[in-house]
């Protein structure tokens, strides 16, 4: 079954077509990657799927239900979560509170019990805090629980965003360049984290530049160029697609590391 | 977080402690303490500024002459701007903290009316410098006033118009307190004096151009004269605009601009404008036998030698202070009920505003004769007999 389905999606800014008649589907329980050169429209696709932008044409389906015109927060309620290419952590809250916002939909209740801090709310808050700590442990950032983002290293912030996104127990998680700006070891840790998320049954749609990472963890890869679909398939298929190679990967990108990918 | 709040509240406490110390240091006193709260800054500063200067000058003068009943006068003053809440707090401070014997002030009707309930409750003599008739009508036991009412000014203007056969007029008033009080009083009074107000427009006190309003009023048919009621620079701008538009009908201004600075601001456009004003403005031009002449000349000379052109507003605090001093002498001290009774019995006091005859039913004691009609000719005032 497809968790996400995109049909004929287009979006233009002024005269520029950022995304053109894009169609693809993401099957449940897979890690699906979106690659392409800078400016190919990857982040725009994410913004269209998560409801930050409205598409000029086309439809988006989540779990079979159309969400094209739904507000971003309603999509989140239907099981869509995401991270951001340029960090969007809440700088005015502690790391733990950031994750708690991720749990928001399951915690929100009427105004009065929140104002009076009712026993029911207190109980749920206690549980939520425990769960948030657990999520931070899962993402490997538990020691920053009471820290403010300003005092956390970049890599930890990336993980914090992932923890926040996972907190809502999404069906589909959109990860926008989770490894960008990270060093070798940090990237490998992120790789592990994404695998763990995938293993827990969450479907992942990934935008990433680090080809080794992409080739290693993706079940399927979609190649985007100039807002259009250039090719799609398993990592092995994509690697062999001459069009893809010509437009994006090039011989150099695969070069000496090619063997690793075949090994997968 | 506990540190945050204890810190902040701590600093607040230090501040309050400083106020307590300042307060206790100010108590030991033998002099007669006169409290005042005036609008020395803000939109009504042209009232409060000369009022405070006059008050300070004349208190020094009284003290130099040996004080009152052998005691010196001491002024405790707070600037309240246009803020009625500040006015109320200032009066509370004057009464409970500074323990003054009487209060002079309230440059504006708003700041005066805001403190009236307090003054009545605390039973302390209070002489207001503001204009509106509501201050003393109905009579309030402890409240007096020295300034003419706006109604009297309207009356003076309308009677002069009537005399010249200018029965149909257009009114342009400011949206500030003064302008709106004038507007209400004048519209109220017009019918009974046989004046019809055919056009009625307003301008903001800080507007820089009144041409649109004047253009609109010009097109009203049958208007024989214009009346601009406001104070500050607004009426001067309107006056200039009036001439620029080539309008030639007789133009009246109100006592709100009765000061030399209006002629300065309006320049040549002020020629031929008529307005009601207190005797103070034309001190030298009064007839020698005018009972007000010595008083207004003396005040004018004293004020102008120190500060520059005199205004009627400063005259109000001159009158208020001297009425108070006179009453303290008659009451033989500052026992509040006795002082109040003495102020109420003020009769025949010659002030800058006119001759004051107060009574239990009239806490102002001025009559229509207090206003003189003036015309501006060659950049100077001429009294119209």
């Amino acid at each position: 079954m497809n968790v996400l389905e995109v049909r004929g999606l287009s979006r233009a800014f002024g005269g520029v077509h950022a995304v053109r008649e894009l169609s693809f589907a993401v099957a449940e329980g897979t890690v699906h990657s979106l690659i392409g050169p800078n400016g190919a429209g990857k982040t725009t696709v994410f913004n269209l799927i998560s409801g930050i932008y409205a598409p000029s044409a086309g439809q988006v389906y989540l779990g079979g239900a159309e969400i094209t015109d739904l507000a971003a927060h309603r999509r989140a309620a239907l099981g869509l979560a995401r991270t951001f290419q340029n960090l969007q952590v809440f700088a005015n809250m502690t790391a733990l509170e950031n994750v708690l916002v991720g749990l928001h939909m399951r915690l929100d209740m009427g105004l009065l019990p929140q104002l009076l801090r009712s026993p029911a709310l207190r109980g749920r808050e206690r549980e939520a805090r425990a769960e948030a700590r657990e999520l931070m442990r899962f993402a490997g950032v538990e020691r920053y629980a009471d820290a403010f983002p300003a005092s956390m290293p970049f890599g930890a912030l990336k993980r914090l965003e992932i923890a926040r996104a996972v907190a809502s127990r999404p069906r589909l998680l959109l990860l926008d360049e989770p490894a960008a700006g990270l060093n070798q070891t940090e990237t490998e840790d992120i790789d592990l984290l994404i695998r763990k998320i995938g293993d827990s049954g969450v479907t992942v749609l990934l935008v990433e530049h680090d080809m080794r990472l992409v080739m290693k963890i993706s079940d399927r890869i979609l190649v985007l160029d100039n807002g259009r679909k250039l090719g799609e398939g398993t990592p092995a298929e994509v690697r062999r697609d001459p069009q893809v190679i010509a437009a994006y990967l090039g011989a150099a990108a695969l070069g000496p590391k090619a063997g690793d990918i075949h090994a997968e | 977080m506990h540190a945050e709040c204890s810190r902040g509240l701590g600093s607040a406490l230090v501040g309050l402690a400083a106020m307590v110390i300042a307060a206790s240091a100010a108590v030991a006193a033998d002099p007669i303490r006169i409290g005042s709260f005036l609008s020395v800054t803000g939109g009504a500063s042209f009232l409060g500024d000369p009022e405070l200067k006059t008050l300070e000058m004349y208190i020094d003068k009284v003290n130099a002459g040996g004080g009152v009943l052998g005691r010196t006068l001491e002024l405790v003053h707070y600037d309240v701007g246009d803020d009625v809440t500040k006015a109320r707090t200032a009066v509370k401070r004057l009464i409970t903290n500074d323990k003054v014997d009487l209060i002079i002030g309230g440059s504006s009707t708003g700041t005066t009316m805001a403190v009236v309930p307090l003054v009545e409750k605390e039973e302390i003599p209070f002489i207001s410098l503001a204009a509106a008739v509501v201050i003393i009508d109905p009579v309030k036991k402890w409240v007096f006033k020295v300034a003419h009412t706006d109604r009297m000014a309207c009356g003076a203007v309308f009677r002069d118009m009537k005399k010249r056969g200018l029965n149909d007029i257009a009114l342009l008033s400011g949206t500030d307190a003064f302008g709106q009080s004038m507007r209400t009083q004048c519209l109220d009074l017009a019918g009974s004096l046989g004046i019809r107000v055919l056009g009625d427009e307003t301008f903001g006190p800080k507007d820089t151009d009144m041409t649109p309003q004047l253009t609109k009023l010009r097109s009203v048919a049958g208007v024989k004269a214009f009346f601009i009621a406001g104070f500050g620079q607004g009426p001067a701008i309107a006056n200039k605009n009036y001439r620029q538009l080539g309008m030639t009908l007789p133009l009246y201004q109100s006592h709100g601009v009765a000061s030399k600075s209006f002629i300065e601001l309006a320049g040549e456009s002020a020629e031929g404008v008529r307005l009601p004003a207190a005797a103070l403005l034309v001190a030298e031009k009064l007839r020698a036998n005018d009972p007000q002449k010595p008083v207004v000349t003396a005040y004018k000379t004293a004020y102008e030698s120190k500060f520059g052109p005199v205004s009627t507003f400063g005259g109000h605090s001159h009158d208020a202070l001297l009425i108070a001093v006179d009453a303290i002498k008659r009451a033989g001290g500052v026992d509040k009920p006795k002082l109040r009774d003495a102020i109420e019995k003020t009769s025949g006091f010659v002030g800058t505003a006119g001759i004051v005859r107060m009574s239990a039913a009239d806490h102002m004691g001025l009559d229509a004769s207090a206003f003189r009609m003036l015309e501006i000719r060659n950049g100077d005032w001429v009294v119209i007999e």
Binding site: V89 | A3, E4, C5, L9, V84, T109
Partner: protein
């Protein structure tokens, strides 16, 4: 026990209560009590406004407008139409709430200075109406307000008002502290932190902003009503732009996103002009200078900056 004592919801609140309850017993006379009452009212308004500015990150330069709606509703309905005070207060609050709710959605879509301009315009319009509708509001001279009474009981004298204002502020502070730490409060703060991320987390940001705006407007209206009853007189200036700026200044000076900061800012800026009155002509000059220097040297506001300093000294 230690945790309990040092948490803002408990320890901080306790310190605040002890100080506030002790205060009337050390103040020498009614004037000081009067300043304290005004400070409490201002603090209440600022705590409500801080919800919008400090926590949700939405500026409002027109808050005095809502205050004015409450104040004039109480003045006109009790004075001219003889309504009971609580009913008039509720009517004012309802009017403020409806107005805020009606304009909130389009206005809160604006950001930064555009939002500042829109809220400013809203407030100015209220004060222009109050200034112009002379028959109803007394025009620029203002109008007297009846004393606060309900069910035959009249709130009179500084002492009674102090306790009333204190109960109001204490309740406000307590509810606000609860709210800020609740899911709703975190949602509001998330709007401030990053609106897109908040939406992606399932926070209905539009709704939250509307809630914050409406709640703080209703709250300002209620305090405006009570304040008008206390002072006994109102003028259009009470709803004007300068007054709105004063409230924002109190919030920012005390410290944004700090409930006690809002209280401290209100107390400082209410007491300061009284302290400065001995400077006479130099009052404004000194006031402006203090405002600038505080913000230059304590840019996050008095309370958060001092707290940071304190923490740094304690933990070397």
């Amino acid at each position: 026990m230690r945790r309990w004592l040092f948490a803002p919801r408990t320890g901080g609140f306790l310190v605040f209560l002890v100080l506030a309850v002790a205060l009337p017993f050390v103040l020498p006379n009614a004037f000081f009590l009067d300043v304290a009452i005004l400070a409490l009212f201002n603090a209440s308004i600022c705590v409500g406004l801080n919800l919008l500015i400090g926590y949700a990150g939405q500026i409002s330069l027109g808050h005095a407008g809502f205050l004015g709606i409450g104040a004039y509703a109480s003045a006109i309905l009790t004075g001219t139409f003889g309504w009971p005070a609580p009913l008039a207060l509720a009517a004012g609050a309802a009017a403020s709430g409806l107005l805020a709710f009606a304009v909130a959605r389009p206005i809160l879509r604006l950001r930064g200075h555009y939002l500042a301009m829109a809220t400013l315009g809203l407030g100015v319009i209220v004060s222009i109406v109050a200034n112009t509708e002379r028959e109803l509001t007394g025009g620029p001279d203002g109008m007297a307000v009846e004393p606060l009474s309900f069910a035959g009981f009249v709130v009179e004298g500084e002492a009674a008002w102090y306790w009333l204002a204190l109960v109001l502020l204490a309740a406000t502070v307590w509810l606000t502290i609860n709210l800020v730490d609740s899911p709703l409060g975190r949602g509001l703060r998330a709007v401030h932190g990053s609106e897109v991320a908040a939406r992606a987390c399932g926070v209905d940001t539009d709704r939250y902003k509307v809630i914050a705006f409406t709640v703080s407007a209703v709250y300002a209206s209620v305090v405006g009503s009570l304040g008008a009853h206390y002072v006994g007189f109102i003028t259009p200036a009470d709803a004007g732009f300068m007054r709105s700026v004063e409230y924002v200044t109190m919030v920012v000076l005390g410290g944004m996103a700090s409930t006690f900061g809002a209280v401290v800012g209100a107390v400082i800026l209410t007491a300061l002009p009284q302290l400065l009155s001995s400077f006479q002509d130099y009052e404004h000059l000194v006031f402006g200078l203090i405002l600038m220097l505080t913000m230059i040297f304590l840019p996050r506001g008095v309370v958060p900056s001092c707290a940071a300093l304190f923490r740094r000294r304690r933990a070397p």
